[in-house]
């Protein structure tokens, strides 16, 4: 029965996600949906680092940005197709985050947060100043869209927002699957162990450093993929998209939705992408209201919206 209900639930969600862009057909809405998908992936990837492994990163936008730039440069200069540069962007970010992780993850708490933030700034400086490669503050234009997928009589093109919306659904689902598997494995449990009590984790055989570096690398890799997806959707990238503001934005999504769950970051990403749009009506006061609402949320629901709900609903945990 439980299994049947779950199946039914999954089908309903799939149907709703499928139908959504047919209900809200305006480009404006579709854009918000696609951005929600990209932020969902970003929040999920940061959630692995912050929520599961317990390591605060304030430079996540750097990995997002590196994926975007690598993929965009390969696509514009050498005409490589998105389907290849997508992965290369991810791998590039993953490799860099491995290196950075090895360096900085021996630090803790505030020092780690500041160091990762500093790394984010460093990447911005490179994007702005290595003009021969990145075109500096002017950014990169003319990024190619994904080439059509042809399989027999089926031909999938990626020309309008609704196409990206559906591609994005696959992207989110894929990331969600991988993270689900990881967080329900020995590797995920090791991350939780390190987050909860590093000394005890070590005494039980967990290589704490390796575990943290793994989370950081996987998170960086996925953020790189998201960057590539973003670049080939917006078709223009420049350094201003990948600022520290953006890193903090992602962090807020994770905290708001609920850390150390998979649904929490998705909820945080979607609501915090949509909410500011609603608040546009408030004009100048928008950011003030937004900031104030976030503070209240964090004070009242420190485990995030989903973390709190989950504990209330399924509290076998007395």
């Amino acid at each position: 029965m439980n299994r049947f209900l779950r199946g039914l639930f999954a089908v309903l969600i799939a149907a709703a996600l499928y139908g959504l862009p047919r209900l809200f057909t305006m480009d404006y809405y579709l854009h918000i949906f696609v951005m929600s998908e990209i932020y969902a992936v970003l929040a999920l990837s940061l959630g692995l680092i912050v929520g599961f492994a317990g390591q605060v990163s304030m430079g996540h936008a750097a990995f997002y940005g590196m994926g975007a730039y690598v993929s965009a440069i390969l696509g514009t200069r050498w005409g490589w197709p998105f389907w290849i540069t997508f992965w290369i962007g991810g791998i590039f970010s993953g490799v860099v985050s491995y290196g950075i992780g090895r360096l900085v993850l021996r630090l803790r708490g505030h020092v780690l947060a500041i160091t990762t933030a500093f790394f984010g700034v460093l990447v911005m400086v490179v994007m702005n100043n290595w003009i021969s490669l990145t075109n500096g503050p002017m950014g990169i234009t003319g990024i190619p869209r994904p080439t059509p997928i042809e399989a027999g009589s089926v031909r999938l093109v990626f020309e309008s927002r609704i196409h990206y919306y559906y591609l994005g659904l696959f992207f989110v689902a894929g990331v969600l699957y991988v993270l689900y598997r990881l967080t329900n494995s020995r590797l995920g449990d090791a991350m939780v162990a390190v987050r909860e009590n590093e000394e005890l984790a070590k005494s039980l055989g967990v290589n704490a450093m390796k575990s943290k570096v793994f989370a950081f690398t996987a998170g960086g890799f996925i953020a790189g993929l998201a960057g590539s997806f973003y670049a080939h959707y917006i078709l223009f990238i420049s350094p201003v998209t990948f600022t520290m503001n953006e890193s903090i934005n992602m962090l807020v999504m994770v905290i708001f939705g609920g850390m150390s769950t998979l649904f929490g970051p998705i909820l945080g990403a979607v609501s915090l992408t949509i909410l500011p749009e609603f608040l546009r009506m408030a004009g100048e006061m928008r950011l003030v209201i937004y900031g104030f609402a976030l503070i209240l949320f964090i004070v009242w629901l420190p485990m995030g919206v989903w973390g709190t709900l989950k504990n209330r609903l399924f509290s076998g945990k007395a």
Binding site: R186, D189, V192, E199, L200, L204, G205
Partner: protein
């Protein structure tokens, strides 16, 4: 099984452990006693890799483990508990035990991603393993509680259960009876004996409760001001005038009488 040779460590000028040689034989319950600040916990830290010695060596099962990181040493089968209550506070008892199985779970990265054979077998095994350990330590009925919400005595027991989950060959317990009431202490004694007799693990124990130490230990060693005073059978050691002198504690004279 465990052999420390001329082990020393200093904190600034303080000789916390000085030139201590000590062995634990397979299958025994060995205890380390000594007054507060004698260096017992420090000795455990040296042996389990949480501290690096300034001199001396540690051998475990014929390999030199001096200076190896704690997770490596745990992986070789030497697992320790802590004097302070050291737990994963914000997860449930069952989840916490699952984390403790880290060393027994072998699924590789791609097996995990593809829900391969090893992962699926592991997930089946974990249920059984947990049940075993939770029943063994009397924590079964607490399994769905958040660790921070269970009584203190159960948290102490959970710390031992976690160490057992790692399936050590040699289990180091640092003052497991601290803060337990007499009933819980009795339960603890029974469990330590069962760890040796049923689980066939070797136990190395630090304990202030002399009653417990004298009644369950096969051998005793006494540490005082960082140096080893003596070692031997509990009956002999507790009669040793040097020990009685060093240890004028109430508990000890009681045990010696």
């Amino acid at each position: 099984m465990l052999q420390a040779k001329n082990l020393s460590v200093r904190f600034g000028g303080l000789k916390a452990v000085e030139n201590v040689s000590l062995g634990v034989a397979k299958g025994e319950i060995m205890s380390l006693i000594g007054p507060n600040g004698a260096g017992k916990t420090t000795f455990f830290n040296l042996v389990s890799g949480f501290l690096k010695p300034t001199a001396g060596t540690v051998h475990f099962m014929d390999s030199d483990i001096t200076g190896l990181p704690p997770n490596k040493i745990a992986g070789m089968g030497l697992v320790r508990t802590f004097q302070k209550t050291n737990i994963f506070a914000d997860v449930t008892v069952a989840e916490s035990i699952k984390i403790g199985f880290h060393l027994r779970r072998k699924a590789g990265f791609f097996d995990i991603l593809t829900a391969g054979k090893v992962s699926r077998q592991e997930n089946r095994d974990i249920g059984k393993w947990s049940e075993d350990i939770l029943s063994f330590t009397g924590l079964f009925s607490w399994k769905n509680y958040l660790v921070k919400n269970i009584p203190y005595g159960k948290q102490r027991m959970l710390a031992i259960a976690l160490a057992l989950a790692a399936e050590p060959k040699l289990l180091l317990l640092d003052e497991p009876a601290t803060g337990l009431n007499p009933v819980e202490t009795q339960e603890l004694m029974d469990i330590i004996l069962k760890i040796r007799d049923e689980k066939k693990m070797t136990v190395f124990l630090i304990e202030h409760n002399m009653n417990l130490v004298v009644s369950i230990s096969d051998r005793l060693a006494v540490l005082c001001y960082g140096e080893k005073l003596t070692e031997g059978k509990p009956a002999e050691v507790s009669q040793d005038p040097r020990v009685i002198e060093a240890y004028l504690g109430r508990g000890f004279s009681y045990a010696a009488s």
